[in-house]
């Protein structure tokens, strides 16, 4: 299945991109997607347990992903 990962701010900087299409096995979780992302060049700079959102909602690492989902890896926020 295909899941789109979105990267922002410092995380987009370390991976050199703001979005990446991931091909993951059925039943993969957000944790599996993180492992996939951390294997990319620069990915080891991502923290082991960053904030995550799936389809615009904050999600936990155990969240099961589905084809077409949008997984955002969210750096510490700094609005205001």
């Amino acid at each position: 299945m295909t899941v789109t990962a979105l990267l922002f701010a410092s995380y987009a900087d370390v991976l050199g991109r703001e979005a990446v299409e991931m091909t993951l096995p059925a039943g993969a979780t957000a944790a599996d997607a993180l492992t996939w992302l951390r294997a990319l060049p620069g990915g080891d700079a991502l923290p082991p347990a960053p904030l995550l959102a799936v389809n615009l909602e904050y999600a936990r690492v155990g969240t099961v992903l589905h084809s077409g989902d949008e997984l955002a890896v969210i750096p510490p926020v700094a609005g205001g």
Binding site: S10, Y58, A72, P76, A78, G79, G80
Partner: protein
Amino acid sequence: MRAAIVRGAIDVAALLAEVASASHGATVLFVGTVRDVNDDRAVTGIDYTAYVPMAEREMQRILREAAERFDTDAAVIEHRIGHLELGDASVAIAVAHARRAQAYAASRYVLEALKQRVPIWKREAYADGTREWVTQQGAMIAHQD
């Protein structure tokens, strides 16, 4: 109630007009602006970015929470993204209520919740030519699981 990420200057007078009603005895306007110093470093400007659809959804949720807690649905928030110069407004919150105590409390609640969990980021530019993504106190870092 309205929450929006905007790319141009925030019109604070328009926000005040948006929450105005004869039934309100108090209107609180909070405006956050770009400051010239942070952690003892001279700041020359800030670039804001956001996960726009999620940021708007989360801000809307915060307004609903404030409406429930403080019994007012006259609230509006705009957060600007892009490059901001010193003194530019990055965020503005207008809240109106029959009574001032609830208006002050709701305004504070909305701002603190925004700073804690709305997916917006800022990169400060410093007088020495460097730039850095900022992590602020109180922001969510990770889920506790």
